[in-house]
Amino acid sequence: MAIYVLKRLLALVPTLFIMSVIVFIIIYLIPGDPARVMLGDGADEATIQQVREQMGLNQPVLPQYINWISGALQGNFGESYFLGKSVMAAIGEHAGPTFSLAVLALLLSLCTAIPLGIAAAKHQGGLADKLLTAFSLLGMAIPGFLLSLFLVLLFAVKLKWLPVSGYASLQDGVWSYLKHLILPAVSLSPLMGAIIARMVRSSMLEVMNQSYVKTARAKGVSEHRVIYKHVLRNALIPIITVTGGAFGTLLAGAAVIETVFNIPGLGQLLVHSVARRDYAVIQGIVLFIAFLYVAVNLIVDLLYVVADPRVRLE
């Protein structure tokens, strides 16, 4: 299995390579440069050129890229121009909030999606099913940032139950930590919930038509047991797959919500880094997110083994 994991991680190399090239091309195309941002409005051209020179920005792209990649191969992804620390350290700091947010949002989605999906599959065409249809359609149609506006208005500004924005780490106390994450997580979860609920439903329905479910019924097993032991367990693989996908998307896609709620996560860091042209950080985050994406997929694959004995990793 270790070999398998290793192989998968190795397979990541070309993807990361292509991504790094794409990022470099984009960076090359984006006008604006960090020296100018750092020196600000009204800096004179000579100073800017001097700083550019010192930052190594006046080199052509190719040497810059080669420089970067040879560093990256040794595990050195460069220094941020603005954060005063290495890219790795910066990412490490910002990964926590994003991760917390994604996990909480995912938990919320799962808690609504799975019971709803099961109920809808059990009573196909019934009330739960209609509810699921409505829920999933709305969940997919209402963008998280729109929802967040109204949530903030209601729960933070009007009722003052929860803070409007910001982030507290776990060290600041569990309640404080959760308090800051609830609204953003709730804003993020309907979409994920909708997608997962749909998948739970269709996957359960699919399995319900399998002959081994009929076998179980023919054995005289109770209906409850049929649903929870035989159907759900077999419906798990596609559910795990979308859940993994959803988690990956959450990790990568929370930028807008992080901005709205002022959460110092990876998305926000990337948005800021693009705004101030912090090239090394942009590179680092994009590759890190890609890596996370693949890692989540890998974990999903490993979970398959647990969920389905037919799957073997060799």
Binding site: S211, K214, T215, A216, R217, K219, G220
Partner: protein, 351 residues
């Protein structure tokens, strides 16, 4: 031997479609006696599986189907039982194995667990005892080294073994009746032969009745005591095996017998071909359902639906207006051919 254990009378199973009921089975009557193997044959889609599953009421009655008629098991009409009572019969008194052993076992649980589950659902025994019995059952069905196999997953077994496991599950509570729905269609002939002999052996050893659904007349001839022929949701003929092969009365039965290339027949002799179309379930003809393909059809056949009734001179029940008139086909060609190749085959295997 002649005590009936299952009696179906004019069973009608209709599927709920959006503009009405679709009678997939309409007019099935049959009796299974104690210790008897009854074969059900017929074209694909004629309602064999629906009949089998109707006996155990495996379709969802709230949404999917409507049952009519009577299925009496040990004097009780199964169709009138409550869901709970029905559950206690399934797998316990009557059990069932399905066509496709590759998909009929739950892939995520070890096979042993699946056998035990059936026992635990019906009997008050400890897990340990159940496990012991499961291993015995695996042995009984001829699975080598059952102890190890117990913990294996379905995908680790071959098709034939899986079907044996299915049989073991079915036998878990020593049912009085086993319904086997095409238990060997997904298997190769050589494996099929093994499974069929296993069923025949269990039937003798355990005195268990079997309702065997198949489309292979060869299997019927070799294993069954009685045959039920179905056509488009109806039973068109029931007879003892000997009678059926010797003197098939229903035109459809005759067609079936003659359309089949046989290993024991004269080679190169053209097969009998019947033409004509199969009506749809929602546009059934008024009269006999076979009328569109029948060469004996008369005016009456087009207008009135025949009933299943005894025919002169034989014990069979036939659903045909002209049963008495139709010339009895001479006994199958095989009789002459058999002296040729087949004896030789048997010899060569045994030698």
């Amino acid at each position: 031997m002649t005590k009936p254990i299952l009696e179906i009378k004019e069973l009608k199973t209709s599927f709920k479609a959006y503009n009405g009921l679709l009678p997939a089975v309409d007019g099935v009557s049959l009796t299974v006696n104690e210790g008897e193997i009854v074969g059900v044959v017929g074209e694909s889609g004629c309602g064999k599986s629906v009949t089998a599953q109707s006996i155990l009421r495996l379709f969802d009655e709230r949404k999917e189907v409507k049952y009519e008629g009577e299925i009496s098991y040990g004097g009780v009409n199964l169709l009138s039982l409550k869901a709970k009572q029905m559950s206690s019969i399934r797998g316990n008194d009557i059990s069932m194995i399905f066509q496709d052993p590759l998909t009929s076992l739950n892939p995520v649980y070890p096979i042993g667990e699946q056998i035990v589950e059936a026992m635990l659902a019906h009997q008050r025994i400890s897990k340990k005892q159940a496990m012991q019995r499961a291993i015995e059952l695996l042995q009984l069905t001829g699975i080598p080294s059952p102890q190890e196999r117990y913990h294996q997953y379905p995908h680790q077994l071959s098709g034939g073994m899986r079907q044996r496991v299915m049989i073991a599950i079915a036998l878990a509570c020593r049912p009085k009746l086993l319904i086997a729905d095409e238990p060997t269609t997904a298997l190769d002939v050589t494996i099929q032969a093994q499974i069929m002999s296993l069923l025949a052996r269990l039937n003798k050893q355990l005195n268990m009745s079997i309702l065997l659904i198949t489309h292979d007349l060869g299997i019927v001839a070799e294993t069954c005591h009685k045959v039920v022929v179905m056509y488009l949701g109806q039973v068109v003929e029931t007879a003892s095996v000997q009678e059926l092969f010797q003197s098939p009365r229903h035109p459809y039965t005759q067609a079936l017998l003659q359309a089949m290339p046989r290993i024991d027949s004269e080679r190169g002799k053209p097969l009998t071909v019947i033409e004509g179309s199969l009506p749809t379930l929602n546009q059934l003809p008024q009269g006999c359902r076979f009328v569109s393909r029948c060469s004996y059809a008369t005016e009456k056949c087009h207008s009135a639906s025949p009933i299943l009734k005894p025919v002169e001179g034989v014990q069979a029940l036939v659903r045909c207006w002209n049963a008495d008139l139709i010339k009895i086909e001479s006994r199958s060609q095989g009789q002459q051919a058999r002296s040729g190749g087949e004896d030789h085959v048997i010899q060569s295997v045994q030698s």
